[in-house]
Symmetry: C2
């Protein structure tokens, strides 16, 4: 049996593994740094205290436990040795007959990596809980101070980047401060919160029709978000940001401005584009290596006749994963491979509690109906029935009460003794006390 | 209006704040290091991947938002200056007319604090997710290795301390490895997991009737847990533990062997007992300071005629919090204070999915009915209706499928660039790329 190695348990890898596992015609190993599949489109809800991490993530091992030929390992892929047909990983080298890469991307600062501790991005659960911690903590600090300048700084939130993530984050912060927190904080008026969405381009949601950009801008403004377009962030420090020539004192800055494809692309010996993505052929394999397939955010797939690569959004990645699996099965059955055709399912972004913008081909709509559409599609594609049920309940609860359930400020440090440098417990007493263990 | 300062948002502080807030007769400030109230009795479920942190914790601010005279601040209390009537905190000094202390306890190693990184305790959400991470990661490592010794080490779990927490933890690990993981791991037989519960005393659950200890031991053994009594842990290192004279190779060690009352007691100038608890009088105030009340794990309350202090379990803490509030209101109304009388509501511990032991006075029972009792009481007292609903659903799902929803290995580090020491992105390209922000 041929061995297919899948790197990454995102939309590409998980869907490829399911099709290959169902066929029973190949042996599959799926490796991922994490032990779970993450439903990225709802990650901003974790950052916004609307959902718990476990509601948008499911263990890869259980998702794939029904397929006897699929093995799941938690390991990090370090580099691909395409000549030798093997991948170096944190648990040793793994050889393959076919390789499927879906390692995704991480947020990128394009030469300003030192901004990361000051302005976290939103790609992982750890980052989402860090952003949640910062936002909630800023409100707590604003509540406990009487210094007006400090209070204003704590209540100023800057979101950098006007794509889908930036729009969804800033809308949620605006709504949270206006409604969720309005009765909880007694020493501040949470409505005084200032949320600034900064976009270097001429309009937010540049991938959408200008009408929808305008509508999203109006919707954000109605939630108290200031939308600054054609403005560039020049500097970030611990007290705030410099936008163009203007200095903004802000305790919380969130980075949603750029992504960079997985570093593993560097070891493929192929050309990469400005986002670090490797170009794939029409069958999704790479030049010179028909046994290596790449999909999702890690790949630049330019449809025939088009000038630009498809963006690696969830539906594209999902279909690429399935298509890669089917092309491998074509090889096994000695049939010709097929080219990847993507029927554009459209794109959507939600703004606050009951508004969204939806665009699919020539169809465009916004407002409450768009939000319902957004809701159903996201719940439909969410992995795992139980998760779906829980997310529906969370949202129903949040919709009617404006409350957000997951408002916990959780620290990174779990140890009690080390950070506090407590005096050691007197050894003499210890003997007696041990009796009671 | 008199000012009541409450330190700690646990069962004591939250319940005192509610009664005082409802009366409208005093001004209340509640401070806590955390922004949430944690339902401690279910914390082991977070460590065992059965529940998400947000399902057993609720923001203090929203729990108390209905009381106009109650203010909530996130701050750490550092010391009490009883003479001056003020408390030093991380956000400055706060003076009071009445002080209510319910700072609880943390796990203690009694002179072996260096064991903490090797054997985490279970008192906070951070510790619970750390334990969850270690257990899940051990199974992942066992799956990816072919070295038999290493596999056995990864699959050996040692729980130190045979009280309620230790029994509940070891039972859950036993069950999880036998049922939840049995089909998920293909390269290991999770039934080979070795779980050892170590207790220095003669029997586990020493606070219960010997019959129930025996029953709990049998129930644990049926889940594959080895119960070692009259055994003391002599050493802990990164490869395992020494129990008595026996060396056990174990990747995961959990500490449930002892607690120590909050350090703030040291600043009260009172005598403390061997658990660091301060002795309180029958009205729950401390000697010489009728305006200072202490409750829960931080206090040693010896009922009249009894020889031992009540243990600071949740129902005791809850009633003490309410009683303290009522005594303060007695003072305000110029009525005499009342002594605290505790009607023993009993105690219970659950073992795995459908067994428990319950003891209330002379009533003792165990098995499935005890488990149902345990379930209803815990859900009834869980804070917040939505949380209750979610926990019921999680348990219903887990009961029928043996699945555990929150099996995420979440790391502490959220930054991508710093830990990896990536080469900086070439500055020349950066200019061009920024266009696309």
């Amino acid at each position: 049996m041929k061995h297919v190695l899948i790197v990454g348990g995102g939309f590409v890898g998980l869907n490829a593994a399911k099709i290959l596992g169902k066929s029973g015609k190949v042996r599959v190993t799926l490796i991922d740094r994490r032990n779970y599949h993450l439903f990225q489109p709802l990650l901003y809800q974790v950052a916004m205290a609307g959902l718990s991490p476990a509601e948008i993530a499911a263990p890869l091992r259980s998702l794939l436990s029904g397929y006897p030929h699929v093995r799941v390992l938690q390991a990090e892929a370090l580099s691909v040795d395409a000549g030798a047909g093997k991948v170096e990983t944190s648990i040793g080298s793994i050889s393959y007959d076919y390789l499927v890469l879906g390692c995704g991307a991480q947020h990128a600062y394009f030469g300003n990596e030192e901004w990361e501790p000051l302005a976290p991005g939103l790609k992982t659960i750890e980052q989402a809980t860090e952003i949640r911690r910062r936002i909630l903590y800023a409100f707590e600090k604003a509540e406990s101070t009487d210094n007006v300048e400090e209070k204003m700084k704590q209540l100023t939130f800057v979101v950098v980047g006007g794509g889908t993530t930036g729009v969804e984050l800033s809308g949620a912060i605006g709504e949270m401060s206006r409604y969720t927190f309005s009765k909880d904080f007694k020493n501040i008026d949470p409505k005084l919160t200032r949320v600034i969405l900064v976009e270097a381009g001429e309009r937010i949601l540049p991938a959408y029709h200008p009408d929808l950009s305008a509508r999203a801008t109006r919707d954000l403004e109605s939630l108290g978000v200031q939308v600054w377009t054609s403005k560039r962030v020049e500097a970030v420090d611990s007290d705030g940001v410099t936008i163009g020539k203007e200095r903004i004192q802000a305790a919380t800055v969130i980075w949603a401005a750029g992504i960079q494809a997985s570093e593993i692309n560097r070891s493929l010996g192929q050309e990469t584009d400005w986002l670090g993505r490797v170009t794939v052929r029409q069958d999704l394999s790479i030049e010179g290596h028909p046994e290596i397939f790449v999909g999702g955010d890690q790949a630049a797939f330019i449809p025939e006749g088009a000038s630009e690569a498809l963006s690696g959004v969830a539906p594209v990645a999902l279909h690429q994963g399935r298509h890669i699996a089917r092309n491998i099965l074509c090889d096994i059955a000695e049939k010709p491979r097929r080219d990847f055709k993507y029927f554009d399912k459209g794109q959507m972004a939600t703004i606050g509690r009951s508004r969204a913008v939806v665009e699919a081909g020539k169809i465009r709509f916004s407002g409450f109906f768009a939000w319902i559409t957004w809701l159903f599609i996201h719940i439909y594609f969410l992995t795992g029935f139980k998760n779906r049920l829980f997310v529906v309940l969370q949202w129903a609860g949040a919709y009617f009460t404006f409350n957000r359930g997951a408002r916990l400020i959780v620290n990174k440090e779990w140890q009690f003794y080390k950070p506090r440098k407590k005096e050691p417990f007197p050894k003499d007493d210890a003997g007696e006390q041990k009796k009671n263990f």
